[in-house]
Symmetry: C2
Subunit: 198 residues, 2 copies
C-alpha cells in the first residue's frame, strides 16, 4: 500500500497540483513549470503520463466532474421527499460556496480560457449534460408538468448562482437560487401535467 499512504504516484501528485493551481489561477495562466514544481515531479513524468498540457487539462476537469457529481449525489441521499431532493441540489451548491477555495465553476472558467475545439470545451459539455440530466430526473420525480422545461429553468438558476458566488463573492447566492427554485417548482406542480401555457 505505498501508493496512497506513504507517497502518492507521480500521476496523483500532478493531478492534485493541477487541481489546485488550474482551479485557483486558471488553466491558461498556470504554466507547466508551475505544475511540476508544485507537484514535485520531473517534467518528463508529466509528459509521459499525460502527453500534453491539453490532456492534463482534460484529466483535471474529468476528476472535478467525478468529484462534484459524487458529492452532489451523496448529499441528495439525505433527503426523503422528491421536493427536498430537488431543492437539495442548491443546498449542496451552498456547501461548495462556503469553502474558502471556491472560485466558481471550473468548467465555465476553463471553457472561457480555452479554444473552441479544446478538451476543456468537451469536458464542460459533458458536465453540463450531467447537470441537466440530474435536474430533469429530479423534476420528473417531483411530478412537474413539464420536467424538461423546469430542468432548464433550474439550470439557469444553478449557473447563475455559481457565477454570482464567484464574481460578486456572494456565497448566499445558493440561498437565493433555492428560494427561486421553490417558486418555480410550485408553479410547475400547479400546472396541469400536459399543456403549454405561456
Amino acid at each position: 500500500m505505498p501508493r496512497t499512504a506513504v507517497k502518492p504516484s507521480a500521476r496523483e501528485r500532478i493531478l492534485a497540483a493541477a487541481n489546485e493551481l488550474f482551479y485557483r489561477e486558471g488553466v491558461q495562466t498556470v504554466g507547466i513549470d508551475r505544475i511540476i514544481e508544485h507537484a514535485g515531479v520531473a517534467k518528463a513524468s508529466l509528459y509521459n503520463t499525460f502527453g500534453s498540457k491539453d490532456e492534463l487539462v482534460r484529466a483535471y476537469l474529468e476528476s472535478r466532474h467525478a468529484n462534484v457529481s459524487e458529492r452532489v449525489t451523496r448529499a441528495l441521499t439525505r433527503f426523503r421527499t422528491p421536493r427536498e431532493r430537488l431543492l437539495g441540489v442548491f443546498d449542496a451548491q451552498g456547501e461548495l460556496f462556503t469553502e474558502p477555495t471556491y472560485n466558481g465553476c471550473a468548467f465555465v472558467t476553463a471553457s472561457a480560457e480555452a479554444a473552441l475545439g479544446s478538451s476543456a470545451r468537451q469536458a464542460a459539455e459533458k458536465y453540463r449534460g450531467w447537470v441537466r440530466g440530474l435536474f430533469t430526473r429530479l423534476a420528473e420525480e417531483a411530478g412537474a408538468a413539464d420536467p424538461d422545461d423546469l430542468a432548464r429553468r433550474l439550470h439557469l438558476l444553478y449557473d447563475g448562482a455559481s457565477l454570482s458566488a464567484r464574481m460578486d463573492r456572494d456565497p448566499s447566492a445558493s440561498t437565493t437560487a433555492r428560494a427561486a427554485a421553490a417558486v418555480l417548482l410550485d408553479e410547475a406542480l400547479r400546472r396541469p401535467p400536459s399543456s403549454g401555457s405561456t
Copy 2:
C-alpha cells in the same frame, strides 16, 4: 469630417479590432500583434494611445458596457407597463443571443481569463452593479414586495441565460429565463409588501 467617414482615428480602429478579436477569442489568447495587424495600425500607436494591454482591455470592456447599457435602456422604452419593461430585459437579451457573433457575456469571459486585481475584474464589477441596479429599479416600479430580493433572483436568471446561450449554444435560453422571471415576478406581487416568508 475625415474622422468617422473616410478614415477612423487610430484609437477607433484599435478599439474596433479589440472589440472583435478579444470578444471572439479571448483577451488572453489574442496578442498585441494580432490587434495591430487587424486594426492596420503601428504598434507605437497602440502604446501611445492606451499605454498597455491591460488598459486596452479596460477600454474594450468599458466600450462594451456603454454599448450594452445603451442598447438595453433603449429597448425598454418600447414597453409601457412596468411588468413588460421588467420582462423586456430578457427580450433584449434574446436579441443579443441571436446575433451570429454572440459569444457570451464579455465580462464573464474576460474576468475568467484575467488575474484577480486586473482592470477586467474592475470593469466586470461595475457592469454587474449596473445590471443589479437596473433589475432593482424595475422590480420597484413593478411593485414587488421585496425589490432587492426579486432583483437578485432575476439576476441569476439573466446570468444563467447568457451562460447557457454560450456554452450550450442555445439562443432560446432567454425565452426560458423570461418565462421563469414572469413566474418569480407574479409570486413577488402576491407576497405582502413587507414580510419575510421563507
